[in-house]
Amino acid sequence: MKELNPLLHSQLRLAVISILMNVEEADFVYLKEKTESTAGNLSVQLDKLSGAGYISVTKGFVGKKTRTVCQITELGRQAFEEYVETLKEYLGM
């Protein structure tokens, strides 16, 4: 049986990818709120996902406030779909 993608088989990273699969784009505050994570932890996990090319992270400004917007990439979408397929195999679905 295929191994589950270790990059996605982590609670927070999987939560982030699941959210981004469902929306066009989401900002840091929204992800933090929905995943109920800390800013530091979320930031580290976003860096990991971005480093793997699974998400794109755009940093910008709204007035004087910084805003980080995340979007899933095609590679991230494929990885998530493969992850779900493997999960189904494990669970015999």
Partner: protein, 207 residues
């Protein structure tokens, strides 16, 4: 949320949970409809009253207040929206692109009418046709995308008045001030103000 080893079943539960958490916000915002609706209705009433009481066609230039006030209001609204960004859904993106196309089409219509005005040909009824065909059609499309019946019904009301308008123009029937502008106002109330309030009410209940 902490980092911990998950079982396969926990992974699946987490995915389901995250999808359900992002579903809650799929309610369209009626503020833009209300802004354009109230501005259009207020300007139309003003122009109608002035035309009926004075008979001076120069007051028709006041129609331009619609896009001037509407564009300023939309700009302020989009800035506020950016501050409370959160997340953008696929339907948010699609409807925003649809309305951007409508704005460009409106600009082309306006430029064409201005050119014809300089050539001493009055084509401003084309703007009415635009407002009562392109706008309602886009509203119907948005209603289908976000599965909101009030937008589809509102768009259909506008479209019906638009079809009547086109038929009158093609049949050489003059769009009389006494009946056409009131019909235009009623169409815009049904097309923008009513669905705008319905959407905002649903958004408040959903919160």
């Amino acid at each position: 949320m902490e980092e911990k080893k998950m079982t396969e079943r926990e992974s699946l539960e987490l995915i389901t949970e995250m999808i359900s958490r992002t579903k809650e916000r799929y309610v369209a915002d009626g503020s833009a409809l209300l802004l354009w609706g109230y501005v259009t209705v207020a300007v139309s009433v003003l122009v109608w009253v002035l035309l009926v009481t004075t008979g001076n066609p120069a007051y028709n230039w006041l129609w331009n207040l619609i896009w001037i006030i509407g564009c300023i209001g939309s700009f302020i609204m989009s800035r506020r929206k950016k501050e409370n960004f959160g997340a953008k859904s696929y339907s948010d993106k699609l409807t925003s692109q649809l309305w951007t196309v409508v704005a460009y089409v409106a600009l082309v219509f306006f430029v064409c009418c201005m050119v014809f005005t300089f050539l001493k040909i009055n084509t401003w009824t084309a703007m009415l046709v635009f407002a009562l065909t392109v706008v309602p059609l886009t509203e119907i499309a948005q209603g289908i995308v976000v599965k909101e019946r009030s937008l589809v019904v509102g768009g259909a009301i506008g479209m019906l008045v638009g079809i009547v308008t086109v038929c009158c123009i093609c049949g050489g029937i003059g769009l009389g001030i006494n009946w056409f502008i009131p019909m235009f106002i009623v169409a815009f109330i049904g097309m923008t103000i009513v669905p705008g309030h319905i959407l905002n009410h649903k958004a408040r209940v959903n919160r």
